[in-house]
């Protein structure tokens, strides 16, 4: 119940050790779903849930997992949680599930979850690992939501499906497509690293 450690982990995961713009992980889904704010939030919740629980489970089992099959066991546990998320989505929010399509299943290969499992859960206690997993997910989420907000706004003129920019706004279709995603994320990384992480030396 070490609250100080939890606080340190939380702050790090949200900022200096952020999975997306510092460690450059989880990029695939960052680009794929951020053309729509609603889909993004669902994806983020799914990731937070999975990372948290998989960290918790793996940490609880960490002294028993044989070295040889370490990767397979962690992958299996992560896959199980992701499938549960997928099933729950199909049952409770089918239209979102349909829009996200295979990208929900691809959360399994999201480097963030595997990364936290290997870097943290295997060497830390369950409760702290749970916090690490959840906050790493939140760190990922806030980045995605900013990008999604901008992409949906500029690309479709809407926020959460509600038309915000009227007909006077010429929709930047490119924002809804692949190149827009890359550029938005690059811009985000540039702003954050250029202004806020300047004392880190920059060249990451």
């Amino acid at each position: 119940m070490n609250l100080k450690k939890m606080r340190t982990v939380t702050i790090a995961n949200l900022g200096r050790e952020n999975q997306v713009f510092v460690h450059v992980l989880g990029i695939c889904s960052t680009l794929a779903v951020t053309n729509d704010l609603r889909n993004t939030i669902v994806m983020c919740l799914g990731l937070i849930f999975t990372t948290g629980l998989s960290n918790l489970t793996i940490s609880a089992l960490r002294s028993w997992i044989p070295q040889r099959v370490r990767m397979m066991v962690t992958t299996l546990i992560i896959a199980a949680y992701v499938i549960i998320v997928d099933i729950v989505l199909k049952a409770t929010a089918p239209d979102i599930s349909r829009q996200l399509g295979p990208y929900v299943g691809l959360i399994i290969t999201n480097c963030i979850i595997m990364g936290r499992a290997e870097a943290f859960a295997l060497t830390n206690r369950p409760l702290l690992s749970l916090v690490d997993g959840i906050t790493a997910g939140i760190g990922y989420s806030w980045v995605l939501m900013v990008i999604a907000f901008l992409r949906e706004l500029m690309g479709s003129g809407t926020v959460w499906g509600v038309v915000v920019l009227g007909d006077w706004w010429v929709k930047w279709s490119i924002m809804v497509m692949a190149p827009g995603a890359f550029f938005m994320l690059a811009l985000f990384v540039w702003v954050i690293k250029g202004r806020f992480l300047r004392d880190e030396g920059g060249a990451k």
């Binding site: 028993w64 044989p66 066991v73 299996l76 199980a80 549960i84 099933i87 049952a91 239209d95 809804v176």
Partner: protein, 202 residues
């Protein structure tokens, strides 16, 4: 790790196998349990989705609430020998909705196409299943594309985006020629085959 005496190595291997087996069983069971638990809800959602699609293609306003959709569907839609649906409109008129599968760029495209009682004018189109490129071919699901078919008289020829607003034409999706053509073929195919399918019973 520490010294590998043959005996402890064997025991270690045995534990590894047992552990893998146990973990697999536990988690696969958890997943299967979730699946069993949710199976009915998922089936219901899928059937609801198809029902909404049929109603949309018939040109009937689709309620947001699932139960309302079920009620509306039960009242208005009668499936006739599985090849088409006979749907009653708000004003009592009859509409025919056909299910058709075409070939897109990446794979099959499934659509519900609705024609009015004369089989001349479209009442609506819904491309409910496809695997086309996101941002390009996948735009056949977008309202701006499907809405243009309402009330149009076929057969339809694709036109550059923005110039196809008249009977006999429709707006193509820029950059998605194959998918657009596939969509057009589906609609035109239904228009051509409809009289034969519906046949005598009107």
């Amino acid at each position: 790790m520490n010294g590998q005496k043959p005996r402890s190595k064997g025991r270690e291997r045995l534990f590894t196998v047992f552990f893998m087996f146990a973990v697999t069983v536990v988690f696969v069971a958890a997943v299967s349990a979730a699946q069993l638990f949710a199976r009915d809800a998922i089936k219901r959602n899928e059937s609801l989705f198809l029902k909404r699609s049929v109603l949309a293609a018939a040109g009937i306003a689709v309620p947001a609430d699932g139960a309302a959709v079920e009620k509306l569907y039960a009242e208005r839609v009668h499936a006739a020998d599985g090849r088409y649906y006979r749907v009653t409109r708000d004003d009592g008129g009859v509409v025919f909705v056909f299910t058709r599968r075409g070939t897109g760029l990446w794979g099959p495209i499934d659509a519900h196409v609705g024609l009015d009682a004369t089989l001349d004018r479209l009442t609506g189109v819904d491309f409910f299943a496809h695997g086309e490129t996101p941002g390009l071919g996948a735009r056949i699901s977008e309202p701006w594309f499907t809405e243009q078919f309402r009330g149009r008289k076929g057969p339809l020829l694709p036109q550059p985006e923005g110039t196809g607003a008249a009977d006999g034409l429709f707006d193509a999706i820029t950059g998605a020629t194959v998918t657009t053509k596939a969509a057009g073929d589906i609609v035109n195919g239904v228009i051509a085959d409809a009289p034969g399918i519906v046949g005598g019973g009107r």
